[in-house]
Symmetry: C2
DNA sequence: TGACAAACCACACAAATGTGTGGTAATATG
DNA sequence: CATATTACCACACATTTGTGTGGTTTGTCA
C-alpha cells in the first residue's frame, strides 16, 4: 500500500494550495487553482479534484462556487492527536489518531503544520511544570532542542516521554518535574519541543 | 454612542448568518443571504453588506464570489481576551480586549460563544492546580458553580481572581491552589467557570 | 505492439454570482 | 414641510465559476 505513494507530487501541491486558501479563509475556485499551479485548462484542475475526492481527502458540492471542503483527514487546521505520551511509542502515521485539536490560530501563530502534532499527557511526572494528566501537549517536531526546553523524547525501550532537557557538562539528560521521578540518563532521541499545552475542564 | 444600538436587529441577523456560514466553512453568496433572511432582492442584501462594511465588521473583495470576511472585531471564532485576571476588574466590553484566542473547535466543542471569554493569568496562586503565570484561562460565564470548580470570581474590592470554589457547611469560600495563599472568606460573586487552560511556550 | 492511466489543453456552454440603476414606503430629523 | 435614513423590490447585465466533451502526449504494463 505504501509502495506507490498515496498522492502524486502534483496532487499534493493541489491539496496544499487548497489547504492554504482555506486557512486564509476562502476556498479557491477551480480557475484559481489552475492559475496557481500553472494549469491552462479548468479540465485539468477538475481531474485533480476528482482524484483527491476519490482518495477521500476532499469533498465538494456540485455547481457551487468554491464549495471545496477538506475531509478531517486532510485538514490543515487540525493537529492530529497521535497518541498518549508515556503509553508507548506513538506511531507518527495516521493509524493511531485519537482526535484533532484545532490549531487554526490558537496563539500558535502561523506554523508550518507539517511538523506539529499533539499528544495526550499521561501521568504526573511533569506536574511541577504545570502539566497534568490528561492535558494535550502540542509538539513541534525537531531533532534538536535547547537546555531547559520541555521535549518529547523517544527512549530506548520505544517509549515516548515528556521531560525537561538538561545539559550537564555537555551531556544531555532528561528531568521530570516531580521529585518522585529520577532523572533519565539513558539514551534518548528528541522528537520535538513542547510549544503549547491545552487543558479542558 | 450607545443610545442608538450599534446594529439594527436585521443587520445583526445578517451578520450572524454570515458568522454561521463562515463557521461552517463557506461564506455565503449574496443570494444565499437573501434567501435565509427572506429578502427577495439581491440589492437589499447589498445594502446590508454596505452597512456592515461601514461599521467595520465585514470586509469584501469586489466581484469575487463568497468573498466576505469578518473583521477580527466581528469574528465568532475568536474569544476575546478581556483582561488580566488578578489585575483588577476586567471590563466585559470591547474596550480592553488584549487579543483573541481562536476557539474554532479546540476541544471546546461547539459552545455558545456569547458567554465565553478568556483572561490571562497573573501570579502563582493556582500553581498547584497546574495553572501558571501567563496562562490563558478560558471562562464560561455563569453566576453559579459547583463545589470544587475553579471559578473566576469578583471580589469586593473589584478585583477578579481565579480560585477554587469550596463549600464548607453550606457556606462558600474561595481557595487558592498554593499553600502560601490563605483562603478567601470575604464576599464575592462568581463570574464564570474555568473550562480550558492554554499555555504557550 | 496494444491497452491504459496520468497529465495535460481548448473550448463551448450553462449556471451561479456580483453589480448597478431606479424605484416605493415608512419613519425619523430638523 | 423638506430631507435623510432604513428597509425593502425589480430587473438587466456583466463576470465569475462550474460542467462537459473531445482531444494530445507520455509512460507503464502485459
Amino acid at each position: 500500500m505504501k509502495d506507490k505513494p498515496f498522492l502524486t507530487p502534483k496532487q499534493e501541491k493541489v491539496l496544499n494550495f487548497i489547504r492554504k486558501r482555506i486557512g486564509e479563509r476562502l476556498p479557491p475556485t477551480i480557475r484559481e487553482i489552475g492559475e496557481e499551479l500553472g494549469f491552462k485548462s479548468t479540465g485539468t484542475v477538475r481531474d485533480y479534484l476528482k482524484a483527491l475526492m476519490q482518495k477521500g481527502l476532499v469533498r465538494r458540492m456540485n455547481s457551487k462556487s468554491r464549495a471545496i471542503e477538506l475531509t478531517e483527514r486532510a485538514s490543515f487546521n487540525k493537529i492530529p492527536i497521535i497518541g498518549t505520551i508515556m503509553a508507548g511509542k506513538p506511531n507518527l502515521a495516521y493509524e493511531e489518531i485519537q482526535g484533532y485539536v484545532d490549531a487554526d490560530d490558537l496563539f500558535l501563530g502561523r506554523l508550518g503544520f507539517d511538523d506539529v502534532f499533539a499528544l495526550r499527557v499521561k501521568g504526573d511526572s511533569m506536574i511541577d511544570a504545570g502539566i497534568l494528566d490528561g492535558d494535550i501537549a502540542v509538539i513541534k517536531k525537531r531533532p534538536d532542542a535547547n537546555n531547559n526546553d520541555i521535549v518529547a523524547a523517544l527512549l530506548d525501550n520505544n517509549e515516548v516521554t515528556l521531560k525537561r532537557l538538561r545539559n550537564k557538562a555537555g551531556k544531555f539528560h532528561l528531568e521530570a518535574a516531580n521529585a518522585n521521578y529520577p532523572p533519565i540518563f539513558e539514551e534518548f532521541k528528541v522528537i520535538g519541543k513542547l510549544i503549547t499545552v491545552i487543558r479542558k475542564y
